[in-house]
């Protein structure tokens, strides 16, 4: 849809806010040829944009890097708001293990800074190699390390946001324990920008582990791998993460152990005793490249779905999914989710997905499409906005974005 901004919006913002570019895949996903991007340089400018949009009846699609695109596009006029200019570290107190940074700061840059103090933010969701802090929080994804560190939402201590109608709010704080009022911050984590634009975030950091050991088990029999993985997930020790990747030809189980050398060694022994298998040990940098490869393996895949079920049902779901020809799977065995990277040469994507959905639901799981080729219009499977799921979510949407200006993508 066509929006001519140059006129009214350019008068409200400095020049620096214009002329920025975003990945071209975003435009494809959003089905538009009018590439309107605005990059505010402050929370006040974000508010200006949102107030303007409310008045003009224009939708705003907030993005971080814009790399991860949920295929749901607005049919009304819209602009893209990138946080790329909001990228500084506002406050870092290593002794408190807390950091406040602007939403557009890249996790990679922040991590470099944290590492100089022996600290890190242990969340590494797959597919997008360099998320922004705001993007990470907006998607709410923790990645497989949540097995050992808990979910991202529990480590976001505070944020500043601008609601759909331009109201700026300061949520939470800088301290780990805080129950002063209703926890609105929690709904912002994972809200995909549907309620507000996140402008800065305070996160709790962790000390880098002394030893980061990767245990590897490869096998052609995926079922066998799954049962080992489940045994690891129910062992008396808690690994940092358990990732299982598989294709129809076989798979690989990666178990990460964090801690002091002696305890990591003891944990490995106890896991091997518990599962009855012996793992190969990979050390950095080999381990690192393996993990990077694992995380990024599906980045270019155009058809991605995520399946959720009780963790104990993961094996059954993998058995089903691995039958899809050419599929590549990545499972969080502890949490109960699988990302399936599907080949686009599927003869009929729509009916294949419909079949898959039916089978998965019969097994007690749910399926959600994360990415789909632009030419497919399979809206029934993936066009569900977050906030239509029940009155409560819709009520919150109305409370924070009363004019329905914001259009969240994943």
């Amino acid at each position: 849809m066509r929006v001519d901004l140059t006129d009214s919006l350019s008068r409200l913002l400095p020049e620096e806010a214009f002329g920025h570019s975003v990945p071209s895949s975003l435009w494809t996903a959003l089905r538009t040829d009018v590439e309107t991007v605005v990059a505010p340089g402050s929370a006040e400018e974000v508010a200006t944009i949102l107030k303007w949009a409310s008045e003009m009846g224009v939708r705003v699609v907030p993005i971080g890097t814009g790399a991860h695109t949920y295929p749901r596009y607005p049919r009304d006029p819209f602009i893209v708001l990138t946080t790329s200019r909001l990228n500084e570290i506002q406050h870092y107190e290593p002794a408190d293990l807390t950091m406040t940074a602007s939403a557009g700061a890249s996790i990679r840059d922040l991590s470099t800074e944290m590492a100089t103090h022996g600290q890190w933010l242990p969340f590494d969701p797959p597919d997008v190699p360099n998320r922004t802090l705001g993007g990470l929080v907006a998607t709410g994804l923790s990645g497989p390390l949540w097995a050992g560190y808990g979910q991202l939402r529990n480590h976001v201590l505070g944020a500043t946001i601008v609601c759909g109608d331009g109201r700026a709010l300061r949520l939470g704080g800088k301290v780990v324990k805080n129950v002063a009022g209703f926890d609105i911050l929690k709904v912002m984590v994972g809200s995909r920008g549907e309620l507000a634009v996140i402008t800065s975030v305070t996160v709790r950091l962790f000390p880098l582990p002394v030893v980061d050991r990767l245990l590897v088990l490869e096998a052609t029999d995926v079922s066998e791998l799954v049962s080992t993985a489940r045994a690891v997930a129910t062992a008396p020790i808690m690994p940092a993460s358990i990732i299982l990747s598989a294709t129809s030809d076989g798979g690989r189980l990666l178990v990460r152990l964090h801690g002091a050398r002696v305890s990591v060694e003891a944990d490995q022994k106890s896991l091997e005793k518990h599962t009855g298998v012996s793992f190969e040990v990979r050390n950095t940098p080999e381990a690192e490249s393996l993990l990077v490869q694992e995380r990024g393996s599906g980045i270019d895949t155009e058809l991605v779905v995520r399946v959720w079920a009780l963790p104990s049902r993961i094996g059954v779901l993998l058995d089903l999914l691995k039958q899809v020809p050419g599929v590549s799977l990545n499972a969080d065995v502890y949490g109960g989710s699988v990302r399936a990277y599907l080949p686009v040469n599927l003869s009929d994507i729509e009916s294949s997905l419909a079949g898959l959905q039916k089978d998965i639901e019969e097994l007690g799981g749910t399926i959600r499409v994360l990415r789909i080729p632009a030419e497919v219009d399979a809206s029934s499977y993936f066009a569900k906005p977050l906030v239509d799921e029940g009155e409560l979510a819709a009520g919150l949407k109305r409370a924070f974005d009363p004019h329905a200006v914001l259009w969240g993508i994943e």
Binding site: G140, R167, V176, A180, S312
Partner: protein, 505 residues
């Protein structure tokens, strides 16, 4: 437009602190409502006798007293739904109550309110060992869940000091913490799904392991910590953890609380991840040692630091050695280490018994709760000390040092009217001090009725309005626990709140 904070035209809450006691008769419920309630839960579970209602006039914060119009004790989700539906259709406010152990007056009724208690909803409905979750009714006592799951090698991590008596429903409402949440996190981290009764009696299920958490907003996260203002959780799905293999407990004795505080910073900064780090200050040590709970701490000590590590047995001694080194470097007089359960209990004794011991040495005790960034502990403690000296009040500190969660306890005598005034003023100064240091007004006890007056120290009108809007989504008519959390509009007198209201218009 700032319109959220509906004025309740009530008299000021009667207070033990001010020596006033609520004497006015509570308006009885219409007899038809009573008989309809009795039809739902059975007449023996509807309490309307004003004499009996006296025991429900306070929770763990006895400074506020007001008896409810009735107490209803349902036993199932369906009963709660029917009770809430009935009360709300009669425009009657619902005050949820668990074990009544809260320290912020969260279960104090409004003048028109009916308490809905969860005492009879005390069954653990499911323990799913394979998926490490349990489903419990809200009246289940926190520690009972751990007892019930221990045989499977699992436990429930959040351990508020009142865990032997507080209920999981109350923990959900307050987002409770505890000593070990330094490593393991607070209640919100462990609540995976809820069945909730909303205004009008509507039953909704939110969250749940096995359901795509990214398919909608994190309603569970928002509900946890909503202090009974959004609805009543009637079934709670919780994440369990495997029991850790080993534990090491250290007790460091320091000359001053500042040096103990510096040791804490050092321990965390060197990359250690203790399960708990607690400080007991000098005045508290003296109180404990003078009481029946004497733990054998040296009386001249300025502070005692309890540090606990848990996890894989093999790494624990190494962690303990490093922590001990940190303590000694910061001038610890001595460091003891426990490996067996009995010795561990002994090292923890002064920490665990501190409140009871203080209850024995002073007629009255105000337990405060605030959080500051850990690095600010030494300066904030010095500031609290200074406030105590200026007001001539004895303040003893017992707190979760690892996450900067302070509990300054103000000792006083309620018979002394002048002292009451001072306690009130000192409390406010302490809150301001903590907020100025980058902290907040409550870390784990909640806002309830007691801390509403401090909410404006940390939140502006826009934030408060946003919170009120969130409440309206769940409870449009404001019939769930009204008058809690959000500050009240003050009509009379130019208070801080009124000023903020003016700017919020």
């Amino acid at each position: 437009m700032y319109r959220l904070l509906e004025k309740t035209d009530e008299e000021p809450v009667a207070s033990l602190l001010t020596g006033k006691v609520s004497s006015g008769m509570t308006r009885p419920l219409p007899s038809t409502v009573v008989s309809d309630l009795a039809k739902i839960v059975g007449h023996e579970h509807v309490i309307t006798d004003p004499d009996r209602l006296l025991v429900y006039e306070s929770d763990g914060l006895t400074a506020y007293r007001r008896p409810p119009r009735a107490v209803v004790l349902p036993s199932s989700t369906e009963e709660i739904s029917a009770v809430v539906g009935l009360l709300h259709s009669n425009g009657i406010e619902v005050i949820p109550r668990g074990a009544g152990t809260g320290l912020s007056g969260g279960a104090l009724t409004t003048p028109e309110g009916v308490i809905v208690g969860t005492a009879r909803m005390n069954r653990i409905l499911k323990i799913d060992v394979e998926n490490r979750i349990a489903i419990a009714q809200p009246g289940v006592i926190n520690a009972r869940l751990t007892e019930a799951t221990n045989p499977y090698g699992l436990y429930y991590a959040p351990d508020p000091s009142s865990q032997s008596t507080c209920t999981l429903g109350g923990n959900v409402a307050e987002n409770s913490g505890g000593p070990h949440c330094l490593k393991y996190g607070v209640t919100a981290r462990y609540i995976t799904g809820l069945t909730v009764v909303l205004a009008g009696g509507q039953i909704v299920e939110i969250g749940g392991v096995g359901r795509d958490p990214y398919a909608t907003l994190d309603l569970v996260g928002l509900f946890v910590g909503s202090e009974g203002c959004f609805g009543i959780a009637t079934e709670i799905e919780l994440r369990l953890l495997p029991i850790t293999e080993g534990v090491r407990t250290l007790l460091g004795i320091f000359e001053s609380v500042e040096s103990a505080g510096r040791a804490v910073t050092k321990i965390i900064a060197c990359g250690l991840m203790p399960a708990a780090v607690e400080i007991v200050d000098g005045p508290t040590i003296k109180a404990v040692e003078a009481s029946v709970f004497a733990a054998g701490y040296p009386l001249e000590a300025g502070a005692a630091l309890v540090i606990e590590f848990d996890g894989t047995e093999a790494g624990l001694d190494l962690d303990a050695d490093r922590a001990e080194q940190c303590c000694l470097e910061e001038g610890a007089i001595e460091v003891q280490r426990a490996t067996d359960p009995e010795h561990r209990v002994k090292l923890w004794r002064a920490r665990k018994k501190a409140f009871g011991a203080m209850g024995r040495i002073a007629p009255d005790l105000l337990v405060q709760d605030a959080t500051v960034p850990r690095t600010k502990l030494p300066e904030v403690l010095a500031g609290i000390d200074d406030i105590g000296n200026r007001y001539g009040l004895k303040i003893a500190n017992v707190f979760h040092a690892g996450d900067g969660n302070l509990h300054p306890n103000i000792l006083f005598d309620r018979q002394n009217q002048n002292e009451l005034e001072l306690v009130e003023r000192a409390s406010k100064e302490i809150m301001q001090l903590c907020v100025d240091a980058g902290g907040t007004i409550t870390g784990e006890h909640g806002v309830g009725v007691d801390k509403r007056k401090y909410m404006t120290l940390v939140h502006g009108p826009a934030e408060l309005e946003a919170m009120a809007a969130a409440k309206r989504v769940f409870d449009p008519a404001s019939l769930f626990n009204p008058g809690k959390v959000l500050p009240e509009v003050e009509v009379k007198g130019a208070t801080d709140t009124a000023k903020i209201l003016a700017t919020g218009e």
